[in-house]
């Protein structure tokens, strides 16, 4: 799966699992940062990240190991899409 397709799936999750307004989800671009407190970010907090990781595990069949520091991969839609695509490619 290409990072672009992963990105589209992540946008779907924003609405389905993270309860974002569809209009807000439509506004995000690959470069949009994820974590709350970062400029122009979508504003996710620790609980949102857990929800997102459950959704990713379900959708893509990969395991997000919480003992690993995944913070860098969750920086933006771009980094997260590449990380997931990479994990899928490696499998």
């Amino acid at each position: 799966m290409e990072p672009k397709e992963v990105f589209d799936e992540l946008k779907t999750m924003l609405v389905a699992r993270l309860k974002f307004d569809p209009r807000r989800a439509a506004e995000v671009v690959e470069a949009t940062p994820l974590p709350k407190g970062v400029e122009d970010s979508i504003g996710l907090d620790s609980l949102d990240f857990i929800e997102l990781s459950i959704a990713i595990e379900e959708k893509f069949g990969i395991v997000m190991d919480e003992s690993e520091d995944l913070g860098a991969h969750f920086a933006s839609f771009d980094t997260l899409s590449r990380f997931i695509a990479g994990r899928l490619g490696a499998a």
């Binding site: 907090d45 620790s46 609980l47 857990i50 990781s53 459950i54 919480e66 003992s67």
Partner: protein, 392 residues
């Protein structure tokens, strides 16, 4: 403000029915966390928990939680030697979260799978957390002011603080207060979803800790105006000399990162007791074994008492996190640590976390004559409670 003392103890824990097996288990540093059999846990990463081995007062018409609560509450009242007349005046404060959800879940699961569902009125009547109080008051003849508090994982401790205020303010002379929770699918599933459960028995304050273990149980104490307890010649275990209740107002699940609300709760308890921090020798920690809680709690304890200045241990290493019962069970442990001059250990603690600047009493109980000890309880939503006990 009238002094408030503890004159009766009751516990139903993963070590069994009664205060005796509970204390024996704690003193031995035993671990009651085992594979979960109460319901199917196969779908989850964590499949262990600390269940009560035999449920007292079990009956098809009574929820498991009500059975646990009746066992512990009855023991505390008998232990205090309270007669019928005194019971009629006694306040009842119950800390609860899950209520009779275990039975209600069984009904809902069956219904969702299209199975024929038996009558569920009994399960629904005892489903809400406030329902234990009605059952306890009716069965045990308690006729004073009654209320049920829900503050997530600190509910049991809040119940003791609430009762202490009613007595201190002169509303009642005696109160039965504590917490209860039976294991529920919702709770087990939820903490699994939050990835907060360790697949192995939890290891509070360990460098390699990976999360909590869930437990269940109930604990109640009889609190009494000191004057009245002395007048009737009651045995006094300890004085509940102070308490503090604060709220982080920060996040629905994460504690405030500096432990600000926890610090205020501990300082408030010290202020009520009129005690200098140096007077406290032991902290019975909330100590859930999540990476975040233990680090932040240790930070807050250090801020209040100074690094290394108190012994710190977590009962949850032995009985898991018993949710609304935790504040009650841990209060009983703190009181018994004072009376037996023995600090229960933190089981499963191999390599202490360098961020935890305290002696966490690894694996083996420690003999120590302590004058004052505190018990911390923190709940989701930043609901912080500290209880401060003074040796009788």
């Amino acid at each position: 403000m009238r002094p408030v003392v503890v004159t009766g103890l009751g516990a139903v824990s993963p070590f069994g029915v009664g205060v005796k097996p509970y204390w024996a288990g704690l003193a031995a540093g035993a671990c009651a966390i085992r594979p979960l059999t109460l319901f199917d846990a196969a779908a989850f990463r964590c499949r262990i928990a600390a269940a009560v081995p035999e449920s007292p007062g079990a009956s098809p018409r009574r929820s498991r939680a009500d059975g646990l609560a009746l066992g512990a509450a009855g023991e505390a009242l008998d232990d205090a030697g309270l007669g019928r007349v005194e019971r009629r005046e006694a306040a009842l404060i119950v800390g609860a979260v899950g209520g009779g959800m275990l039975e209600a879940e069984a009904w809902y699961w069956a219904r969702a799978q299209g199975e024929r569902v038996p009558s569920w009125a009994a399960a629904l009547r005892s489903m809400l957390p406030g329902s234990h109080a009605g059952t306890l008051a009716h069965r045990l003849g308690l006729g004073g002011p009654r209320h049920s508090v829900v503050t997530a994982c600190s509910s049991g401790a809040v119940a003791l603080a609430e009762a202490a205020e009613l007595i201190a303010d002169g509303v009642v002379d005696v109160a039965l207060a504590g917490g209860v929770d039976a294991m529920t699918r919702l709770c087990f599933m939820g903490f699994n979803a939050l990835k907060l459960l360790d697949p192995e028995p939890c290891r509070p304050f360990d460098r390699d800790r990976r999360g909590m273990s869930i437990g269940e149980g109930a604990a109640f104490v009889v609190l009494e105006a000191a004057e009245r307890a002395h007048a009737r010649g009651a045995r006094v275990y300890a004085e509940l000399a102070g308490h503090g209740m604060t709220t982080d107002a920060f996040h629905v699940t994460a504690p405030q990162p500096e432990g600000e609300g926890m610090t205020r709760a501990m300082r408030a308890a010290l202020a009520v007791a009129g005690l200098d921090p140096r007077g406290v020798g032991y902290v019975n920690a909330h100590g859930t074994a999540t990476p975040q809680n233990d680090r932040i709690e240790a930070l807050a304890i250090a801020r209040v008492f100074g690094e290394g200045r108190v012994l710190v241990s977590s009962n949850k290493s032995m009985i898991g996190h018993t949710m609304a019962a935790a504040g009650g069970l841990e209060a009983v442990a703190t009181i018994l640590a004072l009376t037996h001059e023995l600090v229960p250990p933190t089981a499963n603690l191999g390599t202490p976390d360098a961020d935890v600047a305290f002696d966490c009493v690894p694996r083996v109980a420690r003999e120590a004559a302590i004058e004052h000890a505190i018990s911390n309880s923190f709940g989701f939503g930043g609901q912080n409670v500290t209880l401060l006990f003074r040796r009788a």
